[in-house]
Amino acid sequence: MGALAVGGELQALSRGDVPAVVASLPVSLRLAEPSDLVALEGGPGWPERVAAATARGVMVVHPTPAAPEAVPAHPGAPVVLNYRFADNPVMPTAARLFTDWPADAMIEAAAVVAQPAELDGVLLDQLATLRRLGSPAVELTRLTWSSAGYYLSAVTRTGVRLLLSAHVTTATSPQLRIRGLAPSVALELTLPDPGTAQPAVLVRTTDAGATKFPTLWESSHRAGWRRLVAAVDGTTPADDLTGLRTDLGLLAPLLPAS
């Protein structure tokens, strides 16, 4: 297969650093019209734009909450949801470490974002991250929500306690930190903002010591495009929309506007 042609909405191309990512995958991708793969911006109306897309593969850059019923159940082409944090390439390794996470443990997901307008999106991103770690939230309760951020409490199917928070500040770079605390093991995962290819940091601590996992110098944006290519060429299907509807259903009643 030759390089797939990539195009899309201008805002999606810039938000998702698409030209730079495409340049870093020159064998697989090239920027060209008409495009095989299309990048759509994840703001309001993205599910309708996904449903209308005619490309061979669809990339939704930074998806934000939408009505669950608007999300196409059977899209015509593979769809990758390119989250800022949940799409980090460290996720498969981290997910392995979270397998069978003890039920009497807790997992914290604390995000730092710069603007209150990012809160809805980062909450969806947190839910996706937890889902990709194999610990999706099944009950979600809003504890606090303001322009300063939020606190939400949840559990997983197996009863692990989840505490989701977001803190709005311009003091530091955006990030999502996941910390799993169990009686005999702790996992700490720091997912950086995809603005650069800064690697995530993943550390597992037990009473025998701490293991730091290999750094992957790839942004979530690039990792997302590799997933889309693999889905389009049939190597690894992308089932990003499965689970998303559940997460959207969970958070719809909690968002302040609703």
């Binding site: 730092v112 606090t144 300063a148 606190y151 803190h167 709005v168 500040t169």
Partner: protein
């Protein structure tokens, strides 16, 4: 800090209670301040503990509170007995006309007792310091100075303590004599949360209170008890939100941090675990693309406590007045009470 380097007349110290805190925290700290203090008596309800701990400090043992209070060679009383005895012993020490009293946290177990202590301090003129080591940590003091006005200055305040069980650190600090049996703690979630707040969170509640504009008006949103020992509590106060959690586990890697988030700045103060003689807290302040790391005096809050006490014994003003100490305790009791109430509903629903 105006500590005199050499004192011809070190202050005489008497301990009431000689458990792990006296052995692992105070005696090692005082051993480094031999020019300022001399331990003269070690009292414990258990004669064997008193004898063995007194012997290592070169002090005389006792099993009588009055005996220590009446000893005129003793200027400073350190109350390190179990919580229920603190208030009475502090009051008696003030009435005995000592120069300063150091009371281990918590100061008292009720606001009434704390208020009585404050009244006795006022009438006797004897200052009382509370052994809340984070409030005396040079890192914390440097942080508050660099940050400026604290009340109302951050929207989110987060305090997390992930610590191994105490004995691990006691053993780095001393060789514990007559270690009390591990408490067979209460099992109801609400009781475990109360114990957690008054036993562990109490170290940080004064720091949290300093950041709240309206500490008298808190609403607890959720309180959970964690396994094997810990809690997770979220509360707000006039729009500011506080996250307070702790877990004691077999994890070797201790982590005790206090964080504040404001629209354009944020800070993290990382404390050393209890008991160890390491310090100070590490402080990082982020603002406008610039990260500042503060390098405070190279000691921890335990040493800071005693150095400050020396100054106070020589006429210096206490860093925290009794009204502050009463307010800190009232705040801690309020958080504990409301968290217990919230836990009853949260954990039942779980």
């Amino acid at each position: 800090m105006s500590v005199s380097p050499i004192s011809p007349n070190p202050l005489g110290v008497g301990f009431l209670g000689a458990g792990p805190v006296t052995q692992a925290i105070h005696l090692p700290a005082l051993a480094g301040l031999g020019h300022l203090f001399s331990v003269r008596a070690v009292m414990d309800a258990d004669g064997g503990t008193a004898r063995s701990v007194a012997a290592r400090a070169g002090a005389r043992p006792s099993t009588s509170v009055q005996d220590v209070l009446q000893d005129e060679s003793i200027d400073v009383i350190a109350v390190c007995s179990p919580h229920p005895f603190h208030a009475e012993q502090v009051i008696e020490a003030c009435l005995a006309g000592k120069k300063v009293v150091l009371c281990e946290k918590p100061f008292a177990t009720t606001v009434e007792d704390a208020t009585r202590i404050a009244e006795v301090c006022a009438t006797t003129g004897v200052p009382v310091l509370v052994g809340a080591m984070h409030t005396h940590d040079p890192g914390w003091l440097a942080f508050t100075q660099a940050w400026g006005e604290t009340a109302g200055s951050a929207q989110h305040i987060r305090c997390s303590a992930v610590l191994p069980p105490n004995p691990r650190f006691e053993d780095f600090a001393t060789e514990v004599s007559h270690r009390p049996p591990a408490p067979t703690g209460p099992t109801a979630a609400a009781d475990r949360i109360r114990d957690g707040v008054l036993g562990l969170a109490i170290h940080d509640l004064p720091l949290i209170r300093a950041f709240l504009a309206e500490p008298g008006q808190i609403v607890v949103h959720e309180a959970r008890s964690l396994t094997p020992f810990g809690y997770s509590i979220i509360f707000s106060s006039a729009g500011q939100v506080v996250e307070l959690h702790a877990l004691m586990s077999e994890n070797w890697d201790p982590h005790w941090s206090f964080q504040v988030f404001a629209p354009t700045r944020a800070a993290t103060v990382t404390f050393m675990p209890s008991y160890v003689q390491a310090g100070p807290a590490d402080v990082v302040i982020d603002e406008a693309g610039r990260r500042t790391q503060l390098k405070a005096a190279p000691h921890n809050g335990y040493l800071g406590e005693w150095q400050h006490l020396y100054d106070v014994a020589h006429g210096g003003a206490p860093r925290y007045g009794t009204a502050e100490l009463v307010a800190d305790l009232a705040f801690a009791l309020d958080v504990a009470e409301q968290a217990c109430g919230a836990a009853a509903t949260t954990n039942r629903a779980a």
